[in-house]
Structure formats: C-alpha cells, structure tokens
C-alpha cells in the first residue's frame, strides 16, 4: 500500500502523519487527530454524518481522501464548539430537541451552519431542500427545521 506524508490543519492545529493513500478524511480526523465528533454512517457519501468543513466549505469526509486535504484547513464540530461559532444553532438544536440519538447531529450542524451563514432565509421549503442531503433516522426532521428557523428569525448570525 502506498503511503504519503501529509499535513492537515484541524481546528487550528497542524497534524502531520504518514497515511495510506486510500485513507479517507473522516478516518484521518477520527484516528490521527482523535476527534470522534465526526461520524461514519454510510461511507459512501449519502448520509451526511461525516460532514466537515474543508477550507470553509462543507465536504463529505468519507468521500474525500486524506491526501486530497493535504495543506487544507479543516473544521469539525469540536472546532466549532471551541471557537463559539454556531453557538446559536447549537443552543437551538438543544432547546428544540433537534436530536435524539445524536449520531447525525455534527453533520447536520455543519450543513445548517452553511445555510445560516450563507444568508439563507427562514423559508421552510428552502431549509428542507438544503438539509435533505443529511439523513436523520430519529427525529422526523421537524425539530431540526424548527431550530434553524428560530435561529434565522431571532437574530444575527448562526
């Protein structure tokens, strides 16, 4: 198996490692950085549980190889919590019960954050379309949409 030396900055911390060419980004984050908030649900790009930000854009961590992220800046759910970014969304997810088992939550937050920070409106249809790439098997989505709507309607920023 070919290996590569790569450096990825995760939540502000540069991590250098020798990895097999086929290791995907979410495994790198979980194994090399020890950050287990990003989850592996389907491993082929459908469920969205592995969604993280790479250079500011949400990416499926199971579809990107770690070597493709060499030199990139990655933000995970832990990084968001540390910097306070998205704190209103996190609060709304808690008060609206926008989570049950919580396995989809980190990926769902990443997608919701993109929508809110991108200036998305409180239009429920638009919100539903935006997050329909993230599966949740527990909640029926109602509370997730409610949480996002509330964040948009009640103030500035995510």
């Amino acid at each position: 198996m070919t290996t590569h030396d790569i450096t990825i900055t995760i939540n502000g911390e540069a991590i250098t490692a020798t990895v097999p060419a086929r290791r995907n980004l979410v495994d790198f984050i979980r194994q090399e950085a020890g950050l287990t908030g990003s989850h592996v649900g389907c491993e082929h790009g459908v469920c969205g549980a592995c969604t993280v930000e790479v250079n500011g854009t949400p990416v499926r961590g199971c579809l990107m190889l770690a070597v493709q992220a060499d030199g990139a800046h990655v933000t995970t759910v832990e990084g968001l919590a540390d910097t306070g970014r998205g704190h209103r969304l996190r609060a709304a997810f808690q008060t609206h019960n926008a989570l049950q088992c919580g396995f989809c939550t980190p990926g769902m937050l990443a997608s919701a954050l993109e929508y809110v920070e991108g200036g998305g409106t409180a239009d429920r249809t638009a919100i539903r379309e935006h997050i329909s790439g993230n599966y949740c098997r527990c909640t029926g989505y109602q509370a997730i949409v409610d949480a996002i709507v509330e964040v948009i309607e009640t103030g500035e920023g995510a």
Binding site: R23, T36, G41, C42, S132, R137, T139
Partner: protein
C-alpha cells in the same frame, strides 16, 4: 416537580459539541485488533473448499478464524440456538459470515477478508413466501391458528363480502450508527464488553456461553446507541461474541464495526408479510366475520420471529371489534437474512392487513373509509354504571379474548377530524380530482391501537440501583438502554421528582450488567414504563429510610416529611437535600437501594391465543393528504395532522420527538423503503444509494402534531403511556391516502401493495382504470 416537564435530551449538549461517545469513539489501547467477517456469496449450499492463505498473508492480518477454530459453536441466537457465529459447511443465506479476520486496522481487516478463495456447491435457495410454502419450510410445525366465533358462517351469511391479498415489504433499520462492539480482556480471564445494543444482558449471556465463562465473568456496558429501532435487540450479538473470542484467544482488545454494506447484508430486517383476507359485512360496512391469513418471511434463523408473528396476530384487529374472526399465521423459513425486531414488532404488519380490509369494504360500498372505520371501532370506554349491583356495560373482547376497556379513539378521531377539517378537505379533494386529469389527490385518516407489554410475560420486569451520596448528589442506574429515545432523561426526571430535587442533581450512568442484572431488552416500548417504576421503587425505599431517621430525631411523624424544591421539610425544620443526606449518613442510614418492578395483571397463553397479554393500549390517529402524478408515480405528502396518546406525558418534548420520528419512519416503510433481492438471493439494495429512507424534503409540507392529554387508566409511572412504537403506525395514513388518490383514477379497487413505490402506484393506476 421534574416529571411532565419538556426538558431536552440529557446528552443534547454533548451531541452538539461532538463530545458524546459511541462505542466506536471509546479510546482503546494501541494494540487493539480490528475485525471483519468474510461473507458467503451464495444463499444456499455447501462450502467445498475454503482457501484463506491469501487472507492470512494480507498486510496487517494478525489472525483468522473459521468455525472449526472457535472455542464453541459461539451461538448468537436469542432463542433457538440456531445461529452459529460462523457457518461451517452449510450455507443458509447470502451474507452469512464464514470466517473472521483480525488485523491492525479496520480497513486492513476488510481488504484481507475480500481475498478469500471459496468454492461452493450451490443448491436451490428458498427465497420467497411461495418457495417456502411449496417446500413446507417453516418454524414451528404448522400455522398458528386463533379464532373467536364462527367466522366462516358469519362471512357466508353476510349481506356483502370482499376478499383480497396485500403484500408488504420489510424494512432496513438504517440506524445511523452501524453495529459496533469492543471487548477488553481483564484479569483472571474476565471480559469487559462495550456494545451498541438494546440488550446488554443478552450480550453478557451469549458472550459467557461462547467463552465457557459464568455470567459474572462478563461485564457489558452500553452508554448509548446511535439509533436502534429493534435492530440492536439481537443483531449485535455476533459482533460482541466475535470480539470476545478474539480477545480471549489473543489477550488483546478487539473491536468490530460493520461497514454499512456488510450491515445490510448480514443483519436482519423487518419481516415482509403477505396477508390474505376474506370479510363479510353489513350495509354500513360493519364487519360481521373476517378470516385473515398472515404469511411472514422469517429468514434463515428463528431469532425473534415467533413473538413478532404473535404480535402481528395480536394486532390483526387494530382498533376494530371483530365479532367473528379466524387468524392463521405462517412463520416461513427462507434463505435470507434473519428477519428480526423492528419498531412495532409485527404490529404494523398485522394492522396494515385490517386497514386494507376497512379500505376495501368502504370502496365496495362507495362510502367514506373513515365512516366505515368508525362504524367498526370498539365501544368507547366509559365509567361503569352499576344498577342494582349489575354492570350494564357491554364488554368487547379482542380476538384473543382481552377486554378493551380503555378505548378512547372515538373522541380522538372526532377531535382530529375537526382539527384537520377532514370532511371539508375530503370534499375539496374530490372537486380537485374532478378538475385535474393527471395529478390526483388523496386523503385518509387512520387510527392506531397498540398493546403495551412484552408478550413473553416474564420479560415484563426491571431492576434499578440508586445511590444518594453524602453531599446530596444522586446516581441512578437501571437496565434500560439509551438509543436516542430520551429514556435516561425520563427516568432521571422520575428520580428527581421522588427526592424533590432539580434534574441536575441526578447523574445518569451507562447501562451496566454489573450494576443491574438480568434485565430485559429495551424494546416493546416498555423502557420508561418498566425502568421508571423500578427507579421509583428504589427512590421510595431510600426516601422512606431518610424520612424515618429525620423524623425520629425530631419526634415527628415520618409520613409528614416532605421532599420538595431541593429541601426536606420535617415539621418546622427545613434542611437542604444535601444537609438531609449528610444527616442520614451521620445517622448511619443506608442511602443505597435497589428497586424492582414487574408489570401486574398479565396472563397470557400464547398457544391458545387467549388471555391478557397487555397492561393497556396506546392510541393515536393521523390524517394525511397526498398528491400523486399519475403519469410518473411521483408523489408528495401535502399535510399530516396527528393526535397521539401518551397518557400523562412524562416529558412532552421527548414524546413529540418520538411521534414525529415514528411517523416519518412508518411512512418510509410504506412508500420509499424497498428491499430487493435478486433471483439468487443477493440483497441488491444494500446501501443508502439504492435503499431510500426519508430525507428532510420527503416529510409533509404541513406537519401538525398534538398530544392527547389524558392519564393512563392503569397505574403506570405517573400515569404516562409508552411512546416508542405506537406512532410508527401513524404512517399508515400516508399509504391509504395514496390508495385514495389512485382510486380517483377509475372505478376499480387499487389493491395497492407496500411499499407504494412509483412503479407500484402506476401499476395500481392501470388496475383501477381496468
């Protein structure tokens, strides 16, 4: 008081920060081995040669096990001892584990497993219900039959009759977190297992059996699952046993996580059913007699199929009084994954059968299906009026002879029909359909009556352990597991209410077989009913001891000691709860207690199909409106209104979540979620790319959910009702709304099968056009 408050999920803050740990997130020592199974590529036959040399030589591989290398047969079955961990020579389904690889990482193990050279001799597989019937391939000797009254005569004498067949597919659980387990060897040969399971006691039992250890040498811990839905009741056994076997053999920790495709291929799903019916009825659509034959495809192993099929029979009436009824149930053995528990546990299939009968009767009489449903409802529960000592109340019995004494669907249906404006909307749908040739709308309001209790009576028990520490903090443990449903929070609310303290005073701890033994699976919606009562019993014991001591010190009456608002009031004396705990500790009072609960009133004879299997029923009703494109079969849910009964809700916010999520999952089962096996028994829909669960854009555009607020007539924990499974069946309203839309296309009866995929909808449209 903390009960009945809409408190958020206890771990919500951990989830939004990524700090909540699932089994795969638990840090393990660097020498941990990672496991993968090699799977059979045929559905039936024998292995004639198994060449694993290339597997052993693959990078990172540390060991390979076949059936012959195991310490025992390592049975994984929850019931019939018919599930060896690894197939020997005989293959019973495509996807059956043949060998086990241990490697230095997850990927290395999977890549190695793919290198096996296996030679098979394939035989004809029994794949379908028809195959199994033809081959007489079954569990139990023959069909199970229960009857009440003379259904045959009632059908023959009835003014009208319908008959038909409905096929309904299975369902993949698609818990977002796949199956995972880890085992860590301990001193003296003991084993610690972390498992994503709804049933830690069973994992303990099966691991102990596999390793030849007593149960006390195995400890199983489960903090949380990333979803379960029944799929982690028995299907996690194999991973835990595999990890324990490798850990015992190598002395190294071992972890196993199924890749999603493997999870689909290996594990069981909801049973698919075929239900054939014949019904006789009067001019108003009231059923006079009905004969229902249920055929269930159970897969290769018995697993939980017998109680699942029993529950399907127990829900063959749903909300309807069937004066003369015959039920016949076939439990068919096939060369497919072992069908298993899934939210509702056979109940949804049984109910869909009788809902089809109601719909069919209404169509044949040209009546509104809701009118026919209501005409068939059980009699309303009412206060028993006793005149001259004789009750005038007419008892209505289910097909299995249990009296339905708590029936509230008349009021609920009335309230929901009002709230969603059913009658006017039904008229508007008809107008709309008259004006639109291509897009057709449909509307349906369907009820749910779901029996609460395990039908295996001995499972209706639970234990708890509660400690009060000398600083007044409280730790609580019980046998229930947390899979997202909010059980831990609800039970913590019960503990906090018992001691009159804030919820934050109560520490929720992981389910642990070393703390509470001999527990039942968290299943049958029974989690808070059973564990809430057990925790309350433990709290009551400690509280009584505290009250006795504090009262004695002050010559007060123990019965008058109050625990409220974080304080303990003894006559004119007021202590904080922490001061009270400290005083009791100083007074040498035991501040630790176990609690135990067993559900009362149950008596059930499953062979005869008679008795009282349930403590009570939970009720609900849903109305859905859909629009269907009759050229493509595409469809949308326009609106869903729900009224659901949780008794006196322990936590309305968590209960709403269960209702919304259950409905969407139920609608998924009946619409988009289609499992397809090919002619050789390979599951073709083995990943989310081909198996479609509802996404956010699939949910109803208008989604209105209300709780029906009325206390449980039975003495459950704070008079609440179970809420895990019942809302799943609210999804039936979507299926019947689609059938209603199809019926608008022509004179024929749609006879729609489930799931109602665009293909099936188009076929039904053609059928009604004749």
């Amino acid at each position: 008081m903390s009960v009945a408050k809409p408190l958020p999920h206890d771990a919500a803050r951990l989830h939004v920060t990524g700090a909540a740990r699932y089994v795969d997130d638990i840090p393990l020592p660097a020498n941990t081995l990672h496991l993968a199974f090699g799977l059979s590529q045929i559905a039936a036959g024998t292995v004639t040669a198994l060449d694993l040399n290339a597997v052993r030589r693959a990078p990172g591989v540390q060991g390979v096990w076949t059936a012959a290398d195991l310490p025992s047969d390592c049975d994984c079955s929850p019931s019939a001892h018919d599930e060896p961990l690894l197939a020997g020579d005989t293959i019973l389904y495509l996807g059956q584990p043949l060998f086990l690889v241990a490697a230095t990482c997850h990927l290395a193990a999977r890549h190695a497993a793919a290198r096996a050279l296996v030679t098979y001799e394939e035989t004809d597989a029994i794949l379908t219900i028809d195959d199994a019937l033809a081959a007489e391939s079954r569990f139990e000797d023959g069909p199970v039959v229960w009857s009440r009254g003379d259904a045959e005569a009632a059908i023959a004498d009835a003014p009208h009759r319908v008959n038909g067949v409905i096929e309904m597919g299975g369902q993949e659980h698609f818990y977002l977190e796949g199956q995972t387990a880890a085992a860590l060897p301990q001193e003296g040969g003991d084993m610690l297992v972390h498992a994503s399971t709804q049933h830690p006691t069973e994992i303990q039992h099966k691991v102990a059996d596999a390793l030849g250890l007593p149960m006390h040498a195995v400890r199983v811990e489960t903090r949380r699952m990333g979803g379960g839905f029944g799929g982690k009741e028995s299907q996690g056994n194999a991973l835990a046993i595999a990890c324990a076997v490798v850990a015992q053999a190598t002395g190294r920790p071992a972890k196993m996580r199924y890749d999603r495709d493997d999870d689909f291929l290996i594990t069981g799903k909801r049973h698919d059913f075929r239900i054939a019916y014949r019904a006789g009825f009067d001019d108003a659509g009231r059923v006079l007699g009905v004969d229902i034959v249920q055929m269930a495809r159970c897969g290769w192993a018995q697993d939980l199929s017998l109680p699942v099929c029993d529950r399907a029979m127990l829900h063959a009436d749903n909300a309807y009084h069937l004066p003369a009824v015959r039920l016949e149930s076939h439990r068919l053995r096939t060369n497919t994954q072992s069908a298993t528990a899934f939210r509702g546990f056979g109940g949804p299939q049984g109910m869909l059968g009788i809902e089809r009968v109601m719909d069919h009767i209404a169509h044949s009489l040209g009546r509104d299906p809701l009118e026919v449903r209501r005409a068939n409802y059980y009699a309303a529960a009412r206060v028993e009026r006793v005149e001259g000592g004789i009750s005038t109340k007419k008892k209505q019995l289910t097909p299995y002879g249990m009296e339905v004494s708590d029936f509230i669907l008349h009021e609920m249906t009335e309230a929901l029909a009002d709230r969603c404006d059913y009658a006017a909307r039904r008229a508007r749908v008809a107008e709309w359909n008259a004006a639109h040739p291509v897009l057709k709308r449909g509307i349906a309001l369907t009820p749910v009556k779901f029996g609460i209790s395990f039908t295996l009576t001995h499972l209706n028990q639970a234990g708890a352990l509660v400690h009060v520490y000398q600083d007044g903090s409280i730790a609580m443990n019980h046998g229930g597991t947390e899979m997202g449903q909010g059980l831990f929070q609800k039970v913590a609310q019960v503990a906090a209410a018992s001691f009159g303290v804030e919820i934050g005073v109560v520490k929720i701890t992981a389910t642990d077989t070393a703390k509470v033994p001999n527990t039942s699976a968290t299943a049958a919606s029974s989690g808070s009913d059973l564990n809430g009562m057990a925790v309350k019993a433990a709290c009551d014991t400690i509280r009584a001891r505290m009250a006795a001591h504090l009262a004695a010190e002050r010559q007060a009456d123990p019965g008058a000691v109050q625990f409220e608002d974080g304080r303990v009031v003894i006559g004119s004396d007021v202590l904080s709860f922490a001061e009270a705990a400290q005083a009791c500790y100083q007074g040498r009072v035991s501040l630790s207690a176990t609690g135990f609960y067993k559900t009362p009133k149950l008596s059930w004879d499953r062979k005869r199909g008679a008795g009282r299997p349930f403590l009570y029923f939970a009720y609900g009703a849903a109305c859905s409106e859909v629009v269907l494109d009759t050229l493509t079969g595409e469809n949308r849910i326009l609106a869903t209104h729900i009224l659901h009964d949780c008794g006196r809700s322990l936590n309305p916010a968590l209960d709403m979540g269960q209702i919304e999520g259950g409905f969407v999952q139920g609608a998924g089962w009946l619409t988009t979620e289609e499992l397809v096996w090919d002619a050789r028994g390979r599951l073709r829909t083995h990943a989310p790319s081909t198996y479609k669960i509802p996404a956010c854009s699939d949910r109803p555009q208008v989604f209105d959910v209300m709780l029906w607020d009325a206390e449980n007539r039975e003495e459950t924990i704070y008079r609440s009702k179970a809420v895990g499974e019942p809302p799943f069946m609210l999804g039936m309203s979507v299926f019947h709304a689609l059938s209603d839309a199809v019926a608008a296309c022509g004179p024929g009866y749609p006879a729609l099968d489930a799931p109602a995929t665009p293909e099936r909808l188009l076929a039904a449209v053609r059928r009604v056009r004749g």
